[in-house]
């Protein structure tokens, strides 16, 4: 069972409107590379010039923010759910 990545609305133009994309990578960084191979241009939307996740992009693995895990090094295993979500206002 691969890893499912949920694609947010602003990026679906790049994924031919796919809401969920399957990858086989074993880390978040690897998953972003894999997305870039299939959907060229998606990486620069997610990462800044230095290769870190942009400050207004939140990435979650099974509902946990990767900043509480190991950021781009966060490991992925079969069946994990990854969500990419823009920061939103409060509350």
């Amino acid at each position: 069972m691969p890893v499912n990545i949920r694609i947010p609305t602003p990026l679906r133009k790049l994924t031919n409107n796919e809401e969920v994309v399957e990858v086989t990578a074993t880390t978040i960084g690897g998953a972003i590379n894999e997305l870039q191979t299939r959907y060229p241009g998606i990486q620069e939307r997610l990462l800044d010039e230095s290769g870190t996740v942009r400050r207004f992009v939140n990435v979650y693995v099974n509902e946990e923010d990767i900043r509480f895990l190991q950021n781009k090094e966060t490991p992925l295993k079969d069946g994990d759910e990854v969500s990419i979500i823009p920061a939103i206002a409060g509350g």
Partner: protein, 419 residues
């Protein structure tokens, strides 16, 4: 009033400057930066003067040229223009020359500053043709969306953490809104709502309507300047959850100054957080321009956002204006609520206790100098968070309806006082 005239030009990414049409959308496709409304300030200059403002009804909509609606507002037309109270007794207790309380605890209709942002978001949602509105909320926003949607005949879905104060839950249910309690903290509610917003065609006030919604907070700052006699306060202390309110009050000072409505004097904005959820305060005190998300644990649930969307911009505004930031513990929050109630007869919710507690610290440390003047923003009503203080404000003494018992009570207490 400038009827049916739009002063909005576009939405623009705050990061890269890419422009978008004025639809229900909130993030830049290129870098996920937040979108902000761009105004035609030249046209506004010709329409908005002190005289034109003073001639209008006392609501937040007297500044309508600087609020993001295309025509006349249709939802929340009575919101705002809450009292600015000169707080002499509290000033004396905190040791500052002059102190003002901007009291949004009595905002109409749901007793928090959120009525401002919701009135803008729902008026704009109606203009864009939406019939269902929604929000992710720590409580106050849910109350306001529920009430204002009811009055406008809109269908409402509000999403809240399941463990919210009972007062805030009942305050949403009573208006007939669909209230969904999420088993998790606010940041998890937020994440879910971002996903729901992408799937359903609803106007989520703090997701796809955010560029319009957030602008509503400016009205608090506009009112403060007008109520002070058309001037910018030297110091403003503002509670921070996402940090949006702080950035928008700062923007309100910039806009009035740019339009020549107030003299261009220096101002400092200071941020207040709870120690149990202090990502922005911790970063500011460490001299960083970025924050580390936290998992909230505080009685100030309305400020319990561990991943503050406007954290970066709040830090920048405090740095640019020379402002400071601090945080207070649960006990200090309760003490702040008591201080404000004792001195000024104003019952604030926990966020108000945070603001008063942090103001006390900033004055005591000289970061707000004793000879200066400051405005404290009280953003919500204490009746909504009774649980937080219920066991900390003393107890009623019960007697039978007998004069003798009452006199006995006074005597016993008098004796206790002397002892």
């Amino acid at each position: 009033m400038a009827n049916e005239k739009s002063f909005m030009k576009a939405l623009k990414c705050r990061e890269c400057g890419h422009e978008y049409p004025l639809t229900a959308t909130h993030v830049c496709e290129f870098d996920f930066g937040p979108l902000e409304v761009v105004y035609d300030y030249e046209a506004i200059r010709g329409s908005l003067t002190r005289a034109s403002i003073e001639s209008r009804p006392q609501t937040m909509w007297r500044y309508r040229e600087l609020l993001p609606v295309a025509g006349e507002p249709t939802v929340g037309t009575q919101v705002g223009f809450t009292p600015l109270v000169k707080a002499d007794r509290l000033a004396k207790r905190l040791g500052i020359r002059e102190l003002w309380i901007k009291n949004d605890a009595v905002n109409y209709p749901t007793l928090s500053f959120k009525d401002r942002v919701v009135s803008v978001a729902l008026s704009r949602a109606v203009e864009l043709g939406f019939t269902t509105v929604a929000c992710a909320s720590t409580g106050n926003l849910a109350n306001s969306v529920a009430a204002n949607a009811a009055s406008a005949g809109l269908k409402a879905y509000v999403f809240i953490p399941a463990d919210l104060e009972q007062g805030k839950v009942v305050n949403s249910l009573v208006y007939g809104a669909n209230v969904i309690g999420i088993k998790g903290h606010y940041d998890e509610v937020n994440r879910l709502c971002a996903e729901i917003a992408g799937k359903y065609g609803w106007a989520f006030v703090n997701v796809n309507m955010r560029p319009y919604y957030a602008e509503g907070s400016k009205s608090l700052g506009f009112e403060v300047q007008e109520q002070l006699g058309w001037r910018i306060p030297q110091h403003t202390v503002i509670p921070m959850a996402s940090g949006s309110l702080l950035t928008k009050i700062h923007k309100s000072y910039q806009e009035f100054s740019k339009l020549g409505l107030v003299p261009n004097t220096k101002w400092k904005v200071h941020g207040a957080q709870a120690t149990g959820c202090n990502p922005i305060s911790a970063a500011q005190k460490a001299g960083l321009d970025f924050f580390k998300p936290v998992k909230p644990n505080t009685i100030a649930k309305s400020l319990a956002i561990g991943t503050p969307a406007d954290g970066f911009y709040s830090l920048r505004v405090m740095k640019d204006t020379g402002g400071h930031c601090d945080d207070v513990t649960d006990d200090e929050i309760r003490e702040g609520i008591r201080l404000l109630a004792d001195c000024e007869g104003i019952f604030a919710e926990t966020a108000g206790g945070v603001t008063v507690g942090v103001a006390k610290k900033l004055i005591a440390s000289g970061k707000i100098p004793a000879e200066d003047s400051a405005v404290l923003c009280i953003t919500g009503n204490g009746l909504k968070t009774l649980d937080a203080v219920a066991n900390h404000v003393g107890q009623t003494r019960e007697i039978r309806p007998s004069l003798r018992e009452f006199e006995g009570l006074l005597e016993a207490e008098g004796a206790a006082c002397k002892a």
